[in-house]
Symmetry: C2
Subunit: 175 residues, 2 copies
């Protein structure tokens, strides 16, 4: 809506010292650079971090590929969410809008990758947790409760990650 014109136009005379009114695009609550986005990122980070910590306290998670995958995906998700939370905080503090199409496209692709990884790892872990707990009835010799908690936290992290993705996708599409 407020793209710079690409047609060659005469440059306006520089107005050094003059106080120009700052045009700020309207930010949809939840897209990058808003308080809503910051809260979503914090939730994503917190749930992913809890998932990693809970899984890390079990000694035998390294034996199962899906659990190792859950830990890697959750670490990736938490790092991504933390860095975007910092970017959001910066944008809020300096009152800058992050509605740059290129940046938003990058964030959208990043969100799509991290949330897909998190969801896939959570599903795989859920499949194995159910296999151990219900199908094989071997919870006595395994840390079922911790596996379940870590899986649930990864699902919650994905739940918080998908609105971020869809809000950016929506704002790019309706641009």
């Amino acid at each position: 809506m407020s793209r710079p014109a690409v047609h060659p136009v005469e440059a306006p005379p520089p107005t050094y010292g003059a106080v120009l009114p700052r045009v700020r695009m309207k930010n949809v609550q939840g897209t990058a650079g808003t308080a809503g986005s910051f809260v979503l990122r914090l939730f994503q980070f917190a749930f992913a971090a809890i998932s990693v910590c809970v899984m890390g306290t079990t000694s035998d998670f390294v034996q199962v590929t899906a659990f190792r995958y859950l830990v890697s995906a959750s670490i990736f998700q938490s790092l991504w969410s933390l860095s975007l939370a910092l970017i959001d905080i910066y944008a809020i503090l300096v009152k800058r809008s992050l509605r740059n199409t290129r940046l938003l496209r990058f964030l959208m692709i990043g969100d799509a990758i991290t949330s897909t990884l998190t969801f896939a790892s959570a599903s795989a872990s859920a499949g194995i947790t159910v296999l151990i707990g219900n199908d094989l009835n071997k919870c006595a010799v395994n840390n079922c409760a911790r596996f379940q908690t870590a899986t649930a936290m990864a699902f919650l992290s994905w739940f918080a990650a998908s609105p971020s993705f869809f809000l950016i996708f929506w704002s790019l599409a309706s641009h």
Copy 2:
């Protein structure tokens, strides 16, 4: 940008009986009612159906919750895709556009649910297939190849399902 004005305007006189020119919206290739969409639906249906058939030929899939879930999700996906393929064929044959916002919203929600279920079940099956094959090395007593094939087919079905969802989402957002 092209929002309807909310100021009260005089309603145009009703034109009963007059032959109004049929306005047909431009269809994006791939959204509901186009040949692209029909092809996508066929692929979704075929992959999901193959997944069900391959998993059904193994006798022990009923013992594992994740494999039962894969079969249910793939049946659901194949039924959904088949019915939408039929709707697409109908729309193509009678040359009707399916760009009705309500219908598209319904299709979008249906696509989101089916593709999420398919992806989750494929991930869970993949986790268990890897557990049996790599972590426990018990492929000799299990139908690893068939489990893997069924899982791969479910992933392919999800791969064909996501463009359908995103194209509808995009066309709704840019409406």
